[in-house]
């Protein structure tokens, strides 16, 4: 049988072509990124509230977390957290008298990237909360709202438009950082392209195809974020 030669044959969805593998990789990329994004958002929300809480030891701890994560290259963080995480979990299991487990690559990837995202999210959310006009919070207090209600009705709707540009940037960076997961061996879009390319020796075709897929993901998300921001800023007075 002749191996497929034209770029279209190589990229066809059905098996002699590698299109299906690339699309599955793209799906994995979106899954990892969305998972890490949500985990990061959760860490970020608690991190921001912790930093603003005024409880000194918690503030010091969170400052160390955000400073270290933001100062160390992503690749090193991913490799270190990946090994430290799996190693640490198995040590805890061994200490508890249980056997070692094989950690699901998807979950490990989400946990590692989410932990990294959390540091950036903490800073974005902290800034967004600080940008809420103090008068609004004072008015809520004057009406007798309890902290939980104040958070739900005033802080949360107030911080979303402020945080959206930062959120959009972080989404772009988690999409691009997720390619680094290829280095620890989980098959997402970057690794799928590499596998396809090294099997067929058609490097240009597959890396260009992967680049186009990433571009589609980032451009579509850009449009989504623009629409989201227009929605959340409805009723705000335009600046210019």
């Amino acid at each position: 049988m002749n191996p497929p030669h034209s770029a279209l044959d190589l990229l066809s969805i059905a098996p002699p072509g590698w299109g299906g593998v690339l699309l599955a990789g793209a799906l994995a990329t979106v899954l990892i990124s969305s998972g890490a994004y949500l985990v990061g958002m959760l860490i970020g929300l608690f991190g921001a509230l912790g930093k603003l809480s005024g409880f000194r030891p918690l503030q010091l701890l969170l400052n160390a977390y955000t400073t270290i994560i933001r100062a160390v290259p992503e690749l090193i963080l991913i490799v270190a957290l990946y090994y430290a995480g799996t190693d640490g979990l198995n040590r805890i299991l061994a200490w508890a008298g249980l056997g070692p487990i094989e950690i699901n690559g998807l979950i490990a990837a989400i946990a590692v990237l989410g932990f990294v995202q959390g540091a950036y999210m903490t800073e974005v959310l902290r800034g967004a909360i600080l940008a809420i006009p103090v008068g609004q919070l004072e008015a809520a207090k004057a009406f007798g709202m309890r902290p939980a209600l104040r958070f739900r009705r005033i802080v949360l709707p107030g911080l979303i438009p402020n945080a959206l540009p930062g959120f959009a940037n972080l989404w772009m960076s988690v999409i691009k950082d997720s390619a680094l997961i290829a280095v620890v061996g989980y098959q997402e879009l970057a690794l799928a392209a590499r596998v396809a390319a090294s099997n067929t020796k058609e490097y240009m075709v597959f890396f260009l195809a992967a680049a186009v897929l990433y571009l589609v993901i980032t451009i579509v998300s850009n449009m989504l974020f623009a629409a989201l921001e227009a929605y959340f800023r409805r009723g705000q007075r335009p600046v210019v």
Binding site: Y83, A179, A190, A193, Y203
Partner: protein
């Protein structure tokens, strides 16, 4: 914690640190030069140049650096030997190395991000200053060279430090195209000695230290450039 490997591997580590710095310096300086052209093309009047520059920035900002690096190293690399005369030319020993492709990819990537920043900075230069320059009879090229660019670079200076640090943090991925930078050295030490954390810790300290130095240097630079507020 076991750091006894540092002495036997000191040459590898020093060479790796040197390569990391070299890649950073090459990509930042060449990338900055390219970024100036990208910014001018984007604020200029020619629609063709504008679209080209815009497309360039969208592509390089919208795709992961890892893919760009692999595209250039494996993709472009497989076509280079077919360029007639190149294999026998004096350039070949350089063009064969992973380092060349790594520096090339990092430069193109840096230029895309820096080009966007410079574009914004050029638009932020007060219009009256450009009008004043035109009023004293400067030609468009002179205005660009004497007023528009220097003012834009000054406006963009605070973000520039951040971009250089981001670029430094992007360098370790070059180990995936066989460049023995500092991370590549740590990777080799891990393979040889089976120590996971200690080499990573050393590399991390290096990056954090270098980040600190870069931010300090830019603070000094910013203070040295006079501004009227």
């Amino acid at each position: 914690m076991d750091f006894s490997w540092i002495f036997p591997y000191r040459d590898l580590i020093l060479q790796g640190a040197f390569l990391t710095c070299l890649l950073l310096v090459i990509s930042v300086t060449c990338g900055f030069g390219l970024a100036i052209f990208l910014a001018i093309a984007q604020v200029g009047k020619s629609p063709g140049a504008r679209w080209l520059a815009k497309g360039y920035c969208t592509f390089f900002r919208g795709t992961p650096l890892l893919i760009q690096l692999w595209l250039i190293y494996y993709g472009l690399g497989t076509y280079l030997p077919y360029v007639p005369g190149l294999r026998t030319s004096f350039l070949w020993p350089i063009l064969r190395e992973g380092l060349f492709f790594a520096a090339f990819a990092l430069t193109l990537n840096f230029a895309a991000y820096q080009g966007e920043i410079l574009r914004g900075a050029m638009l932020a230069v007060p219009k009256v200053e450009l009008e004043a320059a035109r009023a004293v009879g400067m030609s468009p090229a002179t205005i660009l060279r004497r007023i528009w660019l220097p003012r834009a670079i000054r406006i963009g200076l605070p973000t520039f430090a951040g971009e250089v640090v981001l670029q430094l943090k992007a360098t370790p991925i070059v180990f995936s195209v066989t460049v023995m930078d500092l991370y590549g050295a740590a990777y080799k030490i891990r393979q040889d000695t089976l120590l996971v954390y200690e080499p990573l810790l050393l590399v991390t300290l290096f990056y954090v230290g270098l980040t600190f130095l870069i931010t300090r240097a830019f603070q000094k630079l910013e203070n040295a450039v006079p501004t009227r507020r």
